[in-house]
C-alpha cells in the first residue's frame, strides 16, 4: 500500500529535481561561458562521483530511519590509512579494499552502539566523530605528503576516452548496482519496512538489528570508494580531509526526497540530489558570489528540502494516516 503510493509520488519529484538541475546548468552556461568548458564539467563530475557514492551509502542507512554523521570523520580516517599504505608504492587495488574494510568496521561499530545499546543514531555517531577527530592528529603529524604517482593514479591518469575520469564510471556502476538492488532485492524492501515501522517489521519476522548492522557495514564499504576518490586527488593527505563532508551527503539524500524519519525515498532521487550539490559551489563561483556563502546556501537547501518533505507528510497525515509516526 505504502510502496505503491510512494512510487507514484516519487517519480514526479525526481523529474522536477532533474529539471531544476538542468535549468541551473543551462542558465550558468549562458551567463558564464566557461561554465560549460570540458575542464569545468570534468571537475564537477569528479566531485559528483564521490558525493554520489557516499550519498548512496548514507541513503540506505537513512532509509532505516537512522543516520550516520560520522561519515566525514570516517573519510578522514580512511584517507590517512590509504596514504599510509600508498606511501609504500602500493597500487590502488591494495589500498582501496583496505579503506573499504576499515569503513565497514567503523560503521559496524556505530551500528552496534545504535542497535545493541539503543543510543540514538545521531548522538552515537556525533560522539564517534569526535573520537576519530581526536585520534588522527595523534597518529599523524598534520599530513602525509610526497605521495608517489601510484597513489594519485585515479585522479590524474585514469581517464576513459581521454577525458572522462574513471571515478565517474565507478560512481555510475555503483549507482546502477544500487538501482538494480533496490528494484529486485528483498534486502531493500526490508529497509523500507524497518524505516516505516520498526515494530511491525520485527513482527513480520525481520531481524531488525542484524539488517541495520549490515546496512551500516555496506554503507561503510561504499564510503571506502568515495574516500579513495577524495584522498587520491592530490599528493598530500591531511587529517581533516573529510571534516564536515557528512552534511553534503545528508543534504544530497534529503534533497533527493528521502524522508529523514526513514521508510521512503529512492536512490535515483539521491543521484539528482548529489548532482545538484556538486554544482552549488562552482555555480556560486561563476555567478560571482563569494564562496563564503556556500555553507549558508547548503544549509538553506537542506532546510527547504526537509520542509517540503514535511509539508507533504503533514498533508498525507491529514488525509488520514497515522499521527505520531513522523515524530518518533
Amino acid at each position: 500500500m505504502k510502496n505503491t503510493k510512494h512510487s507514484k509520488k516519487a517519480m514526479p519529484s525526481e523529474l522536477a529535481l532533474s529539471l531544476f538541475v538542468i535549468i541551473i546548468f543551462a542558465v550558468l552556461c549562458l551567463v558564464a561561458g566557461d561554465f560549460g568548458s570540458v575542464n569545468n564539467i570534468m571537475s564537477i563530475l569528479n566531485r559528483f562521483s564521490y558525493i554520489l557514492i557516499a550519498s548512496i551509502g548514507m541513503n540506505i542507512i537513512m532509509l532505516t530511519g537512522n543516520i550516520d554523521v560520522s561519515f566525514g570523520g570516517i573519510i578522514s580516517v580512511m584517507a590517512i590509512l590509504e596514504a599510509f599504505i600508498g606511501k609504500t608504492g602500493a597500487p590502488i587495488y591494495v589500498f582501496m579494499p583496505a579503506a573499504m574494510l576499515c569503513g565497514a568496521l567503523l560503521c559496524t561499530f556505530n551500528a552496534l552502539l545504535i542497535t545493541k545499546l539503543h543510543i540514538p543514531a545521531i548522538v552515537a555517531t556525533l560522539a564517534t566523530t569526535q573520537i576519530y577527530a581526536g585520534v588522527l592528529p595523534l597518529l599523524v603529524e598534520g599530513s602525509i605528503y610526497d605521495l608517489p604517482k601510484t597513489f594519485t593514479w585515479l585522479a590524474f591518469d585514469a581517464k576513459v576516452f581521454k577525458y572522462v575520469p574513471l571515478s565517474v564510471i565507478l560512481a555510475l556502476v555503483i549507482l546502477a548496482v544500487a538501482l538494480l538492488m533496490m528494484k529486485y532485492s528483498r534486502y531493500f524492501k526490508k529497509l523500507y519496512a524497518i524505516g516505516n515501522n520498526v515494530k511491525s517489521a520485527r513482527l513480520a519476522g525481520i531481524d531488525v538489528d542484524k539488517t541495520v548492522i549490515v546496512t551500516y557495514a555496506i554503507g561503510g564499504l561504499v564510503l571506502g570508494v568515495a574516500a579513495t576518490i577524495i584522498a587520491t586527488a592530490g599528493q598530500r593527505v591531511t587529517t581533516t580531509m573529510g571534516a564536515g563532508m557528512e552534511m553534503t551527503f545528508i543534504a544530497a539524500v534529503v534533497v533527493g526526497g528521502t524522508s529523514v524519519t526513514g521508510g521512503s525515498g529512492s536512490i535515483l532521487g539521491t543521484a539528482f540530489g548529489a548532482l545538484l550539490l556538486s554544482i552549488i559551489s562552482p555555480a556560486l563561483y561563476y555567478l560571482g558570489i563569494s564562496d563564503t556563502w556556500s555553507t549558508a546556501v547548503m544549509g538553506a537547501i537542506i532546510i527547504i528540502a526537509v520542509s517540503v518533505g514535511a509539508i507533504k507528510g503533514v498533508r498525507r497525515k491529514n488525509a488520514g494516516a497515522e499521527k505520531e509516526e513522523a515524530k518518533a
Binding site: 552502539l113 569526535q130 581526536g134 552534511m247 524519519t261 563564503t292 556563502w293 555553507t295
Partner: protein, 325 residues
C-alpha cells in the same frame, strides 16, 4: 524512580570530587583559588549557560545542535553592528534579537512542520554558521565594549559571568522543579500525545524552550566574544557536542521525560574539571577531544544500561519503543 534520580546526582557529585581531588593531587597548581576561579570556572561558563535552557529542550524529547552556531552568529552580529554604529546598546540588542530569531526559527521547523529536532538543528547549525561566515567574509570580528565587559569584568576576585551563571542556574532550577511549565516539559517528553489531550499547549511549551535556548546562546556568544576579544565563524564548532555531553552526563535522557537541572549543573562542573585538569596535566588538546567523545559515549552507555535494568525490573516503558523507531 525518585530514589534513583537522587542517587544519580550523588553519584555525579562523587565523580566530581574524585576527579577534582585526583587531578589536584597530581598537579598542585590546580588548587590555587586564582586558577580555579579565573580559568576553570570562567572558561566553562558559556557552555554552562547554554546547557541550562537546552536541558529544557532535551527534556521535551528534542535537542538543539545549532546552539554553537547561534552563539557565533549573535556575537558576530553584535560586533558588526557596533563597528557600523558605535552604539553599545544597539549591538547588544541586535545580538539578543538574532539569538531569539534563530531559536524561533528552530521552533517553527520543529513544532509547526514536525521535522525531527535533530535534523532541523543539524541543518540550521550549518545555516547559521554559513550566514556568520557569509556576513564576515570569513574574517574575524572584534569585541565591543559591552561584550568585553561581560567577558572580563570582575567583582572583587570573581568574574561577572560566574555571578550571572549562578543567577541563571537558580532561575532554571526553580523553573524546572517549581513551576507548572517545568512539569509540562516532563509530561511532553514522556508522552506528547497524552499531554496534548491533558490540555497542555505542547507547541507553545516547546517553542518557549527553543526560543529561550536561542536567547541564552546569543548571550553566551557575547560573553565568548568578550573573553576572546575577537571571533571567527568557526568559534562555535564543537560546542553543541560539549553541551550535549554535559546534559547527557547530567542524567537527562536524550529521549526526553527524565532529567534534572541540578544534574546538568554538576555535569557542567565535571566537564570544567576535566577540561582544565587535562590542560594542567599537560595533556595535548587532541586527547582532550577524545576524552570528550568518550565521556559522552560512556554516559550514553551507562544511561542505556540503567534504563535496560529498570525496564527489566518494572513495567515496560514507552520510551524504549520510541527510541528504536
Amino acid at each position: 524512580m525518585k530514589t534513583r534520580k537522587f542517587n544519580f546526582n550523588i553519584a555525579l557529585g562523587i565523580l566530581f570530587l574524585l576527579l577534582f581531588f585526583g587531578i589536584g593531587l597530581k598537579a598542585p597548581n590546580f588548587f590555587k583559588p586564582n586558577y580555579l576561579i579565573s580559568v576553570m570556572l570562567r572558561n566553562i561558563m558559556e557552555l554552562g549557560m547554554i546547557a541550562l535552557p537546552v536541558t529544557l529542550v532535551v527534556i521535551t524529547g528534542g535537542i538543539d545542535l545549532s546552539l554553537g552556531s547561534i552563539a557565533t552568529l549573535s556575537g558576530i552580529t553584535g560586533g558588526l553592528v557596533y563597528a557600523a554604529t558605535q552604539s553599545d546598546l544597539l549591538a547588544v540588542v541586535c545580538a539578543m534579537v538574532v539569538g531569539c530569531l534563530c531559536g524561533w526559527f528552530n521552533s517553527l521547523l520543529v513544532t509547526r512542520l514536525n521535522i525531527p529536532a535533530m535534523v532541523t538543528t543539524l541543518a540550521t547549525m550549518y545555516l547559521f554558521q554559513g550566514i556568520a561566515r557569509g556576513i564576515t567574509l570569513g574574517n574575524s570580528v572584534y569585541a565591543f565594549p559591552a561584550a568585553t565587559w561581560l567577558g572580563n569584568f570582575q567583582i572583587g576576585p570573581i568574574p561577572i559571568q560566574i555571578i550571572v551563571y549562578i543567577l541563571f542556574a537558580v532561575i532554571f532550577v526553580l523553573l524546572l522543579s517549581r513551576t507548572y511549565y517545568g512539569k509540562y516539559l516532563y509530561a511532553i517528553g514522556l508522552n506528547r500525545t497524552a499531554s496534548r489531550f491533558a490540555g497542555i499547549n505542547t507547541v507553545r511549551c516547546e517553542n518557549i524552550a527553543y526560543i529561550v535556548s536561542g536567547i541564552m546562546s546569543g548571550f553566551a556568544g557575547m560573553i565568548m566574544l568578550g573573553r576572546f576579544s575577537s571571533m571567527k565563524y568557526t568559534a562555535g564548532e564543537g560546542m553543541n557536542l560539549k553541551v550535549v555531553t554535559i546534559i547527557v552526563l547530567g542524567g537527562t535522557s536524550i529521549n526526553g521525560g527524565v532529567g534534572t537541572m541540578t544534574g546538568t549543573i554538576i555535569a557542567t562542573m565535571i566537564v570544567a574539571v576535566l577540561n582544565s585538569g587535562l590542560t594542567v596535566l599537560n595533556i595535548p588538546i587532541d586527547v582532550q577531544t577524545i576524552v570528550q567523545g568518550t565521556v559522552l559515549l560512556i554516559s550514553l552507555v551507562a544511561y542505556a544500561v540503567i534504563q535496560k535494568r529498570n525496564t527489566a525490573k518494572g513495567r515496560g516503558k514507552t520510551a524504549k519503543a520510541g527510541k528504536a523507531a
